[in-house]
């Protein structure tokens, strides 16, 4: 049976990217939607109401003061670029800035609210369509979110499982990453990551026809080239100021692909990279991410008779 997969990754809280992801089923005539991790955003923006009735917020690196009627446009832009927001008075903000735990709790609460609304949206839009939507966490997604990612009629969390697509292909999913400078919530050493992948992959009936939905790309390829980040989380430069690039992918992911030689590898994690490579017979695809611009980068992959018939990168 023919199955069209639409794969995207690293939407990082972008409202427009997620909405486009759900709408991609109809737009691209896909019957399986796969979101490969890093669902949640990285920033929480306070919007402070001033005594004069206007609002102060940080917007695109600048402090701006806007009128009440302009605020919805700013909020929409913030949300489309993956930033969460909350409303506060000056006093409330000052208190939050002093109490980091309280601020963190607010961040998590906001993340959960958005994710909950997204899952509801996916269930509502995909109901009765026959489209299956797979949403799994990535290394940047906090563990507390797992409770929300429960299977429903058409939205599934495939993490650490073998799931069978309509085409008959099995898919395994691992959203954990090898260590990063950001010390994100789901990171493990390479050996442990290999064991995690191997533990699921060993359950496959036909590895050669399977799909490895592994958030991190394989190490030492064109899919894992990213700027070097130092201990202060700043980009390192070399020569006359050029960004220093390195391979940040996972050796465990590469080893597992080389060991099982699945039909398809789906990856994200490195936003700058966009492309497809082959490791042996495995086609590895990474659509990249441009969530800050609200642009959904994705990949369409057509499977037929347990083989890849065609594939195309998308950007829209």
């Amino acid at each position: 049976m023919k199955t069209r997969i639409f794969f995207a990754s690293d939407v990082h809280g972008s409202e427009s990217c997620f909405r486009k992801f759900i709408n991609a089923a109809k737009f691209y005539d896909a019957n399986a939607l796969i979101l490969g991790g890093d669902i949640t955003g990285k920033a929480l923006v306070p919007i402070v109401e001033r005594p004069d009735g206007r609002f102060r917020l940080s917007f695109e690196g600048e402090e701006v003061v806007v009128k009440k009627e302009e605020l919805p446009t700013y909020i929409k832009t913030l949300r489309n670029s993956g930033r969460y927001y909350f409303m506060a008075t000056e006093a409330e903000l000052a208190e939050l800035e002093k109490d980091k735990a309280k601020l963190d709790a607010l961040f998590l609460k906001t993340m959960k609210e958005v994710l909950r609304s997204w899952i509801s949206l996916a269930q509502e839009r995909l109901k009765g369509t026959g489209v299956k939507c797979y949403i799994s966490p990535g290394n940047d997604d906090r563990l507390e979110l797992d409770e929300l990612l429960q299977d429903s009629e058409n939205v599934f969390n495939p993490e650490a499982k073998v799931v069978e697509l309509e085409s008959g292909n099995e898919m395994i999913t691992v959203g954990y990453a090898n260590p990063t400078p950001w010390k994100s919530p789901r990171e493990v050493p390479e050996d442990e990551l290999f064991k995690m992948i191997d533990g699921v992959a060993s359950q496959l009936k036909e590895p050669s026809k399977s799909i490895f939905n592994l958030h991190v790309p394989p190490h030492g390829t064109e899919l894992d080239k990213a700027p070097v980040v130092n201990s202060e989380l700043r980009y390192e430069r070399e020569g006359l100021g050029q960004l220093k690039m390195t391979n940040i992918g996972s050796t465990a992911v590469r080893r597992s692909i080389e060991k099982y030689q699945p039909m398809l590898g789906l990856h994200g994690h490195v936003h700058e990279v966009r492309g497809f490579i082959r490791i042996g017979r495995t086609l590895c695809v990474s659509p990249g991410s441009d969530y800050v611009a609200g642009t959904l980068k994705g990949a369409i992959i057509d499977l037929e008779s347990s083989a890849i018939k065609e594939y195309m990168l998308t950007s829209g």
Partner: protein, 509 residues
């Protein structure tokens, strides 16, 4: 930010413009006088401001690999957008790179001739291919060799690609600044000594300083005359703001995305205008205008900013540095062009317009080997056409009309984007800038078409004048773009994929 600016500075081929202006001045009809290069440069820069605004605003809004290709193809749809970009950028850039490769050969020959006046090898490289004493086949071999080496670096050591552009552009900029300072410090005495020395050495009194200076009797500024040179600045300098935006998704930091286009543009305007100003300051307007319009000086002695600075400075080491800086600047343009063209080809291959093979990175070398080899073959073919068939880089000017048409449509695309996506002030600024940009480029296209033998060549090969050959190349590339798109669409349709979807935005609501 440095890389993005360096890419754009290289894209705006200031070093080549200062070297080649004489070939255009020589070709101007006698009715065109009062051409003031400082004024012309400023006019051209002012007319490029709408484009600077468009590229700055659009890069912030749609910062994706491929830059203006993405804006154009998403605005006009796959068929027209892809064919337009294919004609106006992908294929045209290869013609432009051939033009710059020939200008690099001219630079090498001219520098050689400056230090070794009796070298027939240098003369053969410096002279346009259709003049006696030139060696067009040697020019072809040297041009192919230079381009092949740069392609080789990008294939085997791809990580050095950007660095090479930055280093070459930096040396080029420093050399240009040194050249400006050399001319200012040498003053009229230095220029006169150099010209009189040259006149005595070759026993030609008509090229002495006073003889040349007194041969010009026109005005120091004429609006129409200066405006006439707009296509020259369009060919080499001001419109070429798209290198940074083409790699926008690889630029880190909002400051770099926001400022790389205006900073690069302003920097180049200062350099080019000051360099022409330094020539006028040192040599006087009459002398410089007459010398740049003197075929003997331009063709036989490669008279231009660089050689004048090299001669006037009266210091062998500085002269060598200037000569090397001139050559390296042209190589910077080639090095940049190779990178940026591959980005456009990548974006087009990702969209399934061009074959997937062209977006494939070799696992062995980590570079797009097939794409780079394609660039090599096409560009060397065009170097051959320019050098052997039509007598030099000027013959390739006419192919640049493709980009002027392309920029016209980029302006219109900005207007459409503004009306579809912007509100308030942004809508007003972007739509106005896009409209003005389109008007400017429509005028430049008009200038190209009304003076085809100045912005092209009348030299004939295979029964076809050079400018007609260039126009055929442009039209053929557009038609080829249409054919490729339709073929790709049909091919992928049979496999179940509609490539039109790659050019459409998914509705979020």
């Amino acid at each position: 930010m440095f890389d993005a600016i360096a890419l754009n500075v290289s894209n705006m081929s200031a070093g080549a413009a200062l070297a080649t202006i004489g070939f255009t001045m020589v070709a101007l009809p006698s009715s065109v006088s009062g051409v003031n290069l400082v004024g012309a440069s400023l006019i051209a820069f002012i007319l490029s401001i709408p484009e600077i605004v468009v590229y700055t605003m659009m890069t912030r809004r749609v910062s994706r690999t491929g830059g203006d290709y993405i804006w154009v193809s998403r605005t006009y749809g796959g068929l027209f957008g892809s064919a337009l970009s294919f004609m106006g950028y992908t294929v045209e850039t290869m013609a432009y790179l051939a033009l710059i490769a020939l200008s690099a050969i001219f630079a090498i020959g001219s520098v050689g001739l400056f230090f070794y006046p009796s070298s027939s090898f240098s003369l053969g490289l410096a002279l346009p291919g259709d003049l006696a004493g030139s060696t067009p086949y040697v020019q072809l071999v040297v041009g192919a060799l230079i381009f092949a080496i740069l392609i080789g670096i990008n294939i085997f050591k791809p990580k050095y690609g950007y660095r090479l552009v930055s280093v070459l552009a930096l040396v080029g900029v420093v050399a240009m600044v040194v050249g400006i300072l050399a001319l200012v410090s040498a003053g009229q005495t230095g220029v006169a000594n150099y010209m009189n020395g040259l006149s005595s050495a070759v026993n030609d009194p008509t090229i002495s300083y006073n003889a040349v200076a007194s041969s010009y009797t026109g005005s120091t500024f004429n609006w129409a005359g200066s405006l006439f040179l707009l296509p020259f600045f369009a060919i080499f300098v001001y419109p070429w703001l798209n290198a940074g935006p083409a790699v926008a998704s690889e630029i880190k930091g909002t400051r770099a995305i926001k400022w790389n286009v205006p900073i690069a543009s302003f920097l180049v305007m200062i350099l080019v205008t000051t360099a022409f100003g330094a020539m006028y300051y040192a040599g006087g307007f009459q002398f410089v205008t007459a010398a740049l319009s003197n075929p003997t000086l331009v063709y036989t002695y490669s008279f231009n900013f660089w050689t004048l600075a090299m001669g006037a400075v009266n210091n062998t080491y500085v002269a060598w540095f200037l000569g090397i800086g001139w050559v390296l600047w042209t190589l910077a343009v080639l090095a940049y062009g190779i990178i940026v063209t591959s980005r456009y080809i990548f974006a087009q291959a990702f969209d399934r317009f061009l074959p997937e093979r062209l977006a494939t990175i070799s696992p062995r070398y980590g570079s797009p080997v097939v794409t780079l080899l394609l660039e090599l073959v096409v560009t060397v073919g065009l170097v051959a056409a320019g050098a052997v068939l039509y007598g030099g880089f000027q013959s390739l000017y006419a192919a640049v009309i493709a980009s002027m048409i392309y920029f016209f449509f980029v302006g219109i695309a900005a207007v459409i984007h503004a009306f579809r996506n912007e509100k308030g002030t942004s809508k007003g600024i972007l739509s106005l800038s896009g409209g003005l940009m389109a008007i400017v480029f429509a005028f430049i296209v008009y200038q190209f078409l009304t003076n085809p033998t100045i912005w092209g060549t009348s030299a004939t090969a295979l029964g076809i004048p050079g400018y007609e050959f260039a126009y055929i190349y442009v039209i053929a590339s557009f038609v080829l773009g249409i054919v490729i798109y339709l073929a790709s669409k049909s091919y992928h349709k049979n496999k179940g994929i509609n490539i039109d979807l790659a050019y459409k935005e998914i509705p979020p609501d």
